[in-house]
Each structure stands twice: as structure tokens, then as C-alpha cells.
């Protein structure tokens, strides 16, 4: 009833998921005795190094952020202006991207790994307080983290003079209350300050320079920080040996939709293709009912759709990016031939319309109009101009060539991600991705639904005659 299928194949190095199958992996005792490294030994190792050395190690390993944007974590840490104190760390556990739930499983199954990662980060950048922001709808993750924190405080792994050194840091568990946009780092900071979770304009200020309470703040994703204990235990060279040169390490992929065995899989970056992910018995196990693939979303609901031509692309940020989409949060949603493209498109657009924070009018108004137009098309009341109208609204949110996957059958090239935007944050432009993907590829499905509208019956006799003339001449 409350279990999640987590699977992996033997050949995959398990960097973050090594304790997923351990029933006691979430306790301090379990954390110390199971998995692919000894629990909290990495923190001790980091404390024996200087803070700069830890930062250098992370830079050298090219640990890319796993929240969606894929920015190198070590470089981000380096953006803190020198000699400005206090500094804060905010752990982004407000994961709500449709299709994604890797962070929830990481927090539930291995909370100590995340806490240790956050401590290593705090030591490296000199933060005295860590805020662990967990999505409100995940009480099980909150319980697990709360009890892990209690154990860690008890064992002097968090708090004053950790492990007998002069390193002291508090980790504060903070609960969100349900708003997708709070996953954006500046919105997360606003929310943590007790406000409506609306994104801040950046530039001029980035959180690393002026974040929480206008102090230097590093916002890192749960999976990013969960990589640190393994990375420090095994070193940058061992970390770089997994994955590819540009994208070392692994990714947690949440595979859902029309596959036989949906689940969370840890895959090395760039060496597994989407085809293997869908078809290999160790992963997806083939498309449901032996159906044909119609389309798939490679990186969460924000990502432009991919089609049959892209299934041989490797699961790697750059390759997916140059093909016109993004690996984003590592959520792959598979849709087979029975899927109604317009209906799927509406569902994603409705999500963005509901979750728009309302700060920027192109997004606030645009997403609701997109939803309305798609709804009337599906209700059989579409107008012939609706396709152009949809594209026009989309262009007002994200101007210029839409970020879309290549479609060689129609001679259409891929347009690389990310899109241009008229809004402060990428939520609005994300709503454009399914529309442009669907219209470019399945325009005929839209047209068929629009012209299918029943002709309006005209009665034989006029009901009433309208008097001519009148006040307006």
C-alpha cells in the first residue's frame, strides 16, 4: 500500500540509491552499517580537509545540480562573495514536477545521506545554519528526516562542535504547504521568509550573493547533496569514472506512464539510452500491451516532448538539450499510441495554469487562456483559428522559435532548450513546451477535433424578426 518499486541492475554503480533496499537504511545504525560507504565517515573525512579543499574536490568532480538546471554545484558554491557572513544553505526538497519523485524516495529511504551531504556543503562554504525545505504533501519524508535529525543531534553529528571539532551547524526542518513554483530557488527563499512563494528577479541578485534574508545562500537539490557522501568517500577521480566526461555520476530516473514496469532507476549519465530504459527487462520492460510508442517526456512536465526518432539518445543533459528538450528533473513519462495528444497536452497546460503564481501577466493570463482554448477544442467547440491562437499565446509567453524536438519527417530541426521568456521564472515558458510539441507533430489531431464540431441546426423559420433601424442608426 505504501511501497514504491525501486529497482536497479547489478552493473550500475549505486551512488545515491545504495540503501534503497535496506529496511533499516533510514536509521543512524542502518546508515552506518549498510550501503556503498560507511555512514558519516565522509563527514569526518571532509572535516580533516580544509573547507577550500572540499569545494575544490566537488568542482573537480563536476557534480552537476540535479534539480533541473544542471549547473555545476562546486561553481555555484564559489559564487558566495568573500567575507560576507552569515551564509545559509537551503536544501530544496520541494519536489513537485509532474512525473518526478526521486527526491521524496531519497528523503524517505536515506535521510542521513542527505543530512551528511548538507553538512559537507555547510562545512565547505561556512554556513552556520541549514534549512531543509521539504514539500508539505510528503509527511512520510518529513517524519523520516525529523527522526534522522534527532538521532544525528543525539550523536553529535549535527549541532555544537560536531565530532569534537570547531565545526558547528544546525539543520532546521521546514515544511512547505503545497505550491509547485516554490521549487524555483528564489521562490523557495521567499517562502522560507514567510511570504507568498513568488520568484524574485535575477539578475541583479543571485541567491549565492543575496538570498535568504539578503545573505549569501546556496540552494541545492536533495539529489545533488545526496551525491556528496559517496563523492567524498571515493574521491573525485572515482566519481568522474562513472557517467561521461561532461556529465559524471549517475541520475535517478523516475520512469512512469505506459511501460510495463515503471519505477525509479539509478543510471550512469550518458551511457544508457531511452530505448534501453523503455525496453530493457532491468528497467521499463517494454511498452504496455506491446503497443507502439507515440511520444515521451524526457525530463518532467516542463520538457518539450520527444518522439520515436529520439529514443536512441543517451540519458545525458547535453545530448537531450541539443536535441531540443531537457533531462530536467529526471522524470521520463512514456505515452503509447492510445494516448490522445490534445488531452495529454491539456492536462499539462492545466497544471501550469493552476500553479502559475500570478506575478507576471504573460504567464498568469497566457496559461489560463491556453487551458481555455484547449478545453473548448476537446469539448468539440474549437474554432478554426484556435491553433494559430494557441501558438500566438505561446509566443507571448516564450517569444521566437519554440523549443521543440526535431521532426525529420516534416523537415523540422530541433530548437535547443532553454526557451526565451517574457517572465521572471521559467514556469510560463514550460507551459508552452507541450503545446508547441503537440501542434508541430500532431496538428492533424487538433484539426480533426476542431472540424469535427457538429453543424448548428438552422430552424426552418426565423424565430423572431429583428426590427431595422434603432437608436444607433
Amino acid at each position: 500500500m505504501v511501497s514504491d518499486d525501486v529497482a536497479s541492475t547489478a552493473s550500475v554503480p549505486r551512488i545515491v540509491s545504495s540503501r534503497f533496499d535496506e529496511p533499516s537504511g533510514h536509521t543512524l545504525e542502518g546508515y552506518r552499517s549498510t550501503g556503498s560507504y560507511e555512514g558519516y565517515a565522509s563527514l569526518r573525512r571532509a572535516l580533516d580537509m580544509s573547507p577550500d579543499e572540499v569545494g575544490e574536490m566537488v568542482k573537480e568532480a563536476t557534480l552537476l545540480g540535479r534539480g533541473g538546471a544542471g549547473f555545476p554545484a562546486g561553481v555555484k558554491w564559489g559564487f558566495c562573495p568573500p567575507d560576507v557572513w552569515p551564509r545559509y544553505i537551503v536544501v530544496n526538497g520541494d519536489e513537485s514536477e509532474p512525473g518526478t519523485y526521486k527526491d521524496r524516495v531519497l528523503m524517505e529511504r536515506d535521510p542521513h545521506q542527505l543530512i551528511e551531504g548538507a553538512l559537507i556543503c555547510a562545512y565547505a562554504i561556512g554556513a552556520a545554519q541549514v534549512f531543509l525545505y521539504v514539500r508539505g504533501e510528503m509527511p512520510h519524508a518529513q517524519e523520516r528526516i525529523a527522526s534522522a535529525l534527532n538521532e544525528a543531534y543525539e550523536a553529535n553529528l549535527v549541532g555544537k562542535n560536531i565530532l569534537g571539532t570547531d565545526f558547528s551547524v544546525d539543520v532546521v526542518l521546514h515544511w512547505g504547504a503545497g505550491a509547485y513554483i516554490v521549487g524555483e530557488e528564489t521562490a523557495l527563499i521567499e517562502s522560507l521568509e514567510g511570504n507568498r512563494g513568488m520568484p524574485r528577479l535575477k539578475p541583479p541578485f543571485f541567491p549565492a550573493a543575496k538570498g535568504l534574508y539578503m545573505a549569501p545562500t546556496i540552494v541545492n537539490n536533495v539529489e545533488t547533496l545526496s551525491n556528496l557522501p559517496w563523492l567524498v568517500a571515493h574521491g573525485a577521480t572515482a566519481y568522474r569514472a562513472v557517467g561521461t566526461e561532461a556529465s559524471p555520476g549517475t541520475r535517478l530516473i523516475a520512469l512512469s506512464g505506459h511501460v510495463n514496469s515503471p519505477g525509479i532507476y539509478e543510471v550512469p549519465q550518458g551511457t544508457t539510452t531511452f530505448r534501453e530504459l523503455f525496453e530493457s527487462p532491468g528497467y521499463g520492460g517494454g511498452i504496455r500491451d506491446g503497443n507502439e510508442l507515440k511520444m515521451f517526456i524526457p525530463g518532467g512536465a516542463s520538457a518539450p516532448w520527444f518522439f520515436e526518432e529520439q529514443v536512441d539518445l543517451p540519458l545525458e543533459g547535453r545530448d537531450v538539450g541539443s536535441a531540443g528538450s531537457m533531462l530536467g528533473s529526471g522524470a521520463v513519462v512514456v505515452m503509447d499510441e492510445t494516448t490522445d495528444a490534445v488531452r495529454a497536452c491539456l492536462r499539462i497546460v492545466r497544471f501550469f495554469a493552476r500553479e502559475s503564481c500570478g506575478k507576471c501577466s504573460p504567464c498568469r493570463e497566457g496559461t489560463t487562456w491556453e487551458e481555455k482554448i484547449l478545453e473548448r477544442i476537446l469539448d468539440g467547440a474549437g474554432r478554426p483559428s484556435d491553433i494559430e491562437l494557441l501558438l500566438d499565446v505561446a509566443d507571448n509567453i516564450s517569444p521566437g522559435p519554440y523549443p521543440v524536438a526535431a521532426d525529420p519527417s516534416r523537415g523540422l530541426d530541433a530548437v535547443p532548450f532553454p526557451p526565451k521568456q517574457t517572465t521572471i521564472c521559467p514556469l510560463g515558458p514550460s507551459s508552452v513546451a507541450p503545446i508547441t510539441s503537440a501542434i508541430r507533430r500532431f496538428r492533424d489531431e487538433f484539426e480533426e477535433k476542431i472540424t469535427r464540431r457538429d453543424a448548428i441546426e438552422v430552424t426552418a423559420e426565423p424565430v423572431a424578426s429583428v426590427p431595422a433601424g434603432g437608436g444607433h442608426g
Binding site: 518499486d5 567575507d83 508539505g136 504533501e137 553529535n156
Partner: protein, 211 residues
């Protein structure tokens, strides 16, 4: 008047003390108020505003932004059916339709006996276990119309009382806010570089002079 009980008042003070600015405790305190009363009333928000040093309008502004805060009384069980893309693909929308018929209410409504409030919600982060339902934020996976009806029956008969807490009760285990192990209760505004950074800088300096 729904103010905090003495126990919760104490807890509220401890929560506030963990943040450098009291305003940051707005959301946790709204959760606490909702846990106490089952929903978030105007009086409760006024009380939270008093505690965190904000105006009631500011607390209302914050609380009304977030999906989880119920500004009206809701049923004992909030049944949240996910219809987002991964759930839609395997029958989430049909499940919601069935739930509406089965409970005799539209999404957003509450049954007459005050037991169930039904909501269609955005992604609940259980995509590979779709279609997913949360009851008071506890997961129920891969439901169809039959297992949904069984779930409702179990809830009605009290068979899930141990598994599903009352509405608004989020975490059964709290972060322990006691003790002198806590390093920084409200860190000062300009406290300078932390000692371990200063020490590392001091260690590095003589080495640079060549020994």
C-alpha cells in the same frame, strides 16, 4: 477562540526560535494551527500574525497562496485524487469521475456527514505508482474504482485509523527542538566568519610563508 493551546504555544515559541527571523515561522505555525483545529480560521491567522510579528493580512496573503491550508472547515478525510499526466495516462481522470459519483460530491465538496472532502490535485509525487490517491497526505497506490470504494469503506468503518491521521496532522515525529546541543539559536546579524573557516585561513597562512 482558536488560539494555540498552552502546549502548542510553547512549541510555537520553540519553532520561532529556530529561525533568524520570526516571519519565517509563518508556514510552520499555520500548519500547527491547522493541526490543532482541523482548518485555518481567521482567528488562528490573527494569532499567528501576533506571534511572528506580521499583520493578519500578511499571514492571510501567505496562507491563501498555498494549496494545503484550508481556509474553510473540511471533512475528516481529505481525499486527494491525482489526475496529472502520469496518473491521467493510467486512468486518474476516470478514477476522479468515479470518486465523484461514489461519494456523491463534486471535486472540492464535502459529504453531508462531514467525513470526506474530495479534491482533484496536482502531482502527488507517486508517478510510478499511478493512479495515486492521498488521504490526509497518506498514499494509496494503483487504485481502480473497486479498490477506491474499498478504501472509502475502510475509512468509514475506522479500519484505517492507525494509518491515516486526522486532517492537518502532518508529521507524527517532530524534530526535537529541546536541548543545549543546538548551535545557533537566532544567529546574530553580523557574526563574522565561522570559527572553522577562520581556523582554516590561519592554518593556511603560515604554510604559505614557507616552512
Amino acid at each position: 477562540m482558536p488560539r494555540f493551546t498552552p502546549d502548542n504555544e510553547l512549541l510555537a515559541q520553540k519553532i520561532i526560535a529556530r529561525y533568524p527571523r520570526p516571519r519565517s515561522a509563518t508556514i510552520p505555525l499555520c500548519h500547527l494551527a491547522q493541526e490543532q483545529d482541523g482548518w485555518l480560521s481567521e482567528e488562528a491567522m490573527e494569532h499567528v500574525a501576533e506571534l511572528v510579528g506580521a499583520t493578519p493580512a500578511e499571514v492571510l496573503g501567505t496562507a491563501s497562496f498555498y494549496e494545503m491550508f484550508k481556509l474553510h472547515p473540511v471533512g475528516k478525510y481529505c481525499v486527494n485524487v491525482c489526475t496529472n499526466i502520469s496518473c491521467q495516462l493510467v486512468g486518474g481522470e476516470e478514477l476522479l469521475e468515479h470518486a465523484e459519483k461514489s461519494l456523491g460530491i463534486r471535486s472540492g465538496g464535502t459529504t453531508e456527514d462531514g467525513l470526506f472532502t474530495l479534491e482533484d490535485v496536482e502531482c502527488v509525487a507517486a508517478c510510478t505508482e499511478a493512479p495515486a490517491v492521498q488521504v490526509n497526505y497518506r498514499y494509496f497506490h494503483r487504485l481502480d474504482s473497486e479498490s477506491f470504494d474499498r478504501l472509502i469503506e475502510d475509512l468509514r468503518s475506522g479500519g484505517l485509523d492507525g494509518t491515516v491521521p486526522g486532517h492537518g496532522t502532518l508529521g507524527k515525529v517532530r524534530q526535537d527542538l529541546e536541548g543545549d546541543r543546538i548551535a545557533n539559536i537566532t544567529p546574530p546579524e553580523a557574526q563574522g566568519a565561522p570559527v572553522w573557516i577562520e581556523r582554516a585561513a590561519a592554518d593556511a597562512a603560515p604554510a604559505g610563508e614557507g616552512s
